[in-house]
Symmetry: C2
Subunit: 437 residues, 2 copies
Amino acid sequence: MDAHATPYETTVRDIGTYEDKMVTLKGWLYNKRSSGKIMFLILRDGTGIVQCVVSKGEVGEGLFSRLDKLSQESSLIVQGLVRKDPRAPGGYELAVTECEIVSEAFDDYPISLKEHGAEFLLDHRHLWIRTPRQRNVLLIRSEIIKACRDFLHNEGFVNVDAPIMTPAACEGTTTLFPVEYFGEQAYLSQSGQLYNEAAIMSLGKVYCFGPTFRAEKSKTRRHLTEFWMVEPEAAFMGFEEMLRLEERMVCYIVEHILNNCEHLLREIGRDVERLKEITPPFPRLTYTEAVDLLRRKGMDISWGDDFGAPHEAAIASEYTKPVFVAHFPTQIKAFYMQPDPDNPDTVLGADLLAPEGYGEIIGGGERIHDYTLLLERIKQHNLPMEDYEWYLDLRRYGSVPHSGFGMGIERVVAWICGLEHVRETIPFPRMINRLRP
Amino acid sequence: MDAHATPYETTVRDIGTYEDKMVTLKGWLYNKRSSGKIMFLILRDGTGIVQCVVSKGEVGEGLFSRLDKLSQESSLIVQGLVRKDPRAPGGYELAVTECEIVSEAFDDYPISLKEHGAEFLLDHRHLWIRTPRQRNVLLIRSEIIKACRDFLHNEGFVNVDAPIMTPAACEGTTTLFPVEYFGEQAYLSQSGQLYNEAAIMSLGKVYCFGPTFRAEKSKTRRHLTEFWMVEPEAAFMGFEEMLRLEERMVCYIVEHILNNCEHLLREIGRDVERLKEITPPFPRLTYTEAVDLLRRKGMDISWGDDFGAPHEAAIASEYTKPVFVAHFPTQIKAFYMQPDPDNPDTVLGADLLAPEGYGEIIGGGERIHDYTLLLERIKQHNLPMEDYEWYLDLRRYGSVPHSGFGMGIERVVAWICGLEHVRETIPFPRMINRLRP
């Protein structure tokens, strides 16, 4: 013990407020360098990373030698003086006076600072998330979620949680996960939309925000079997008004991240200048114009075909902002989509494609509000009528024009963070061959 | 059309800002009364309920007569003059000049203003949520969720979503929902805690907030098979510090609801004075003291027995605030609970019981951080070692003392709203005999 005053308990993020004062930090040893009588411990504590300078003279031979042998990821409580240092990443370093080793890590920590293969890292996801890059992505994800919720709250939307276990499928039956529900077959939800449509008749404007599930058998860099989706829906909201809402929401999120996480983005190598270009209005194409564009670019596609990832990338590459593709053919979209009055072979539905090749981040549209038309569509699509009676009730009793959309959080995180693969956008990804850890 | 200026588009909530001005409201017919030449349409629009006064002289014979026959829940766009009226519930009424009938409801709307049985209402949950009482509860639920998230964000907790499909069980295997995961058996998550424990080693303080699942075969008024839980966890947080965090969080939520939803609570008949008593500190009992108390009250319970709903109610009835019951016997609590150093037969775990008979709303505690002890407990509980290797890794590599808790949202909504049954606390409840709508 030395004669310094009782140190302030703080975190790496806040040490700047304690310049030339004694503080205590609690964290993990991320790296270290040693040069005889001086040792540099790189400490991370969840809020940031700081260099702690240990001199043999200050802490004594015994502790210095224990610290010198300390394995990566050991947990520590460090006391010391906060010193300004313009060369340090955060602008400050800690001159250590005391250090308690809380738990010495076994010395076979699997994730060294060298490169590892993707499967190895995913097998060790519970440890991989400790690396600064993964930590930054998870922090940005958390802020993106907060931005979505804050935006919708400010716009008067009420959070209504849709059920996860459901009797029927919203988006087709080929990618459903079955659950055994007390002897009955249930499925994990693929969307809360139908429930949102019930809730808007009570609350006007609502959103659900929860996990959704698709038994995707394809291994792609854009698909997870379990992913989070925010789905706003509003009574009396028309198609045009919905597109403007999407635009405002995406711009709000990007602005929030630039205001709060720009340093995190820079640390992971994201070109933030690209994000600063994301301002309203977003360009718009009709599906028909998009098909023409793709054909002019030499791609093999006909009117009526659905877009794949290469088509989306080719369209988006024409713009620096997200681009709406609207008015898809009725035949390739869901049964509940409202026909375009100007062209009944197409629907009042639109996808929003992120720039830089990140593809679709939002899908949405106006829903059929006419009872007779919806009934017809349910029959055309051979949907089990008994499962949709309650949904038809919403058109029997005070139906109103309404619209909504779903935004996939992992796609948005991938785009904003500039990640190649969605597996890094969620704490514990689930894919066809991955249910662990 | 009349000669009034273009009306303002607004909502019932905001009409007070348009006194003596023309506005447009969009909503549904909740009720109506008529007396010859004057008709009162009670309109609800999701943000509130307002009385619209229609006079035959103003709207003409034809529209008056159509409106007079209009069925409950028909959707309307109403134009009129906002008039101050101290007798009106919100202080204003609308003198109608025009009215467009958007969609006339079929005249067999199942939920009339009379009483219905619980099963009937649950079968029509998609319509039942339109009634003012259910709407208020859903609004309060939404604000409770917002308060949880705001509180945790302000305290520096990062939102980390735990996976829903998991290979192993956290809370025992008798109440798991199995999911077929590409030929492998997966289970729906009962808690995100174990994943939170991995995430705190990256981010320091985290919380997950998502649906959790228990295949509860018992029909009680406190159990759902699908419910939402918020689970904060923090590195280096001791047991005492965790109890204070719980206390602050519960008080923050109650205060937020009193500040933002007092009128909604009053409308559903909640005695808000009881909620105003919810201030720190909360009383605390040890498990042993609680057993003594119950025996003094004549209940048949021995040291080592777990509490049921009647025990919780009997303990809570002694207090007007939530009460902590701490230091449970090791044998009745989960394998990961840290032993109390002063009495190793008990654990550093506590439940928080809500007053007025609402029972447990929070369970939490300090987790075992010692590798050897945790390994021993996993073996004692016959847990499949291969599923817990990653969890043991958290003790191999930089283990730290840590604590966390889980708060059930539906229980909190039931308590704050004063509801008899949790089925009214969630938009679409799931129970043993209920998977629809």
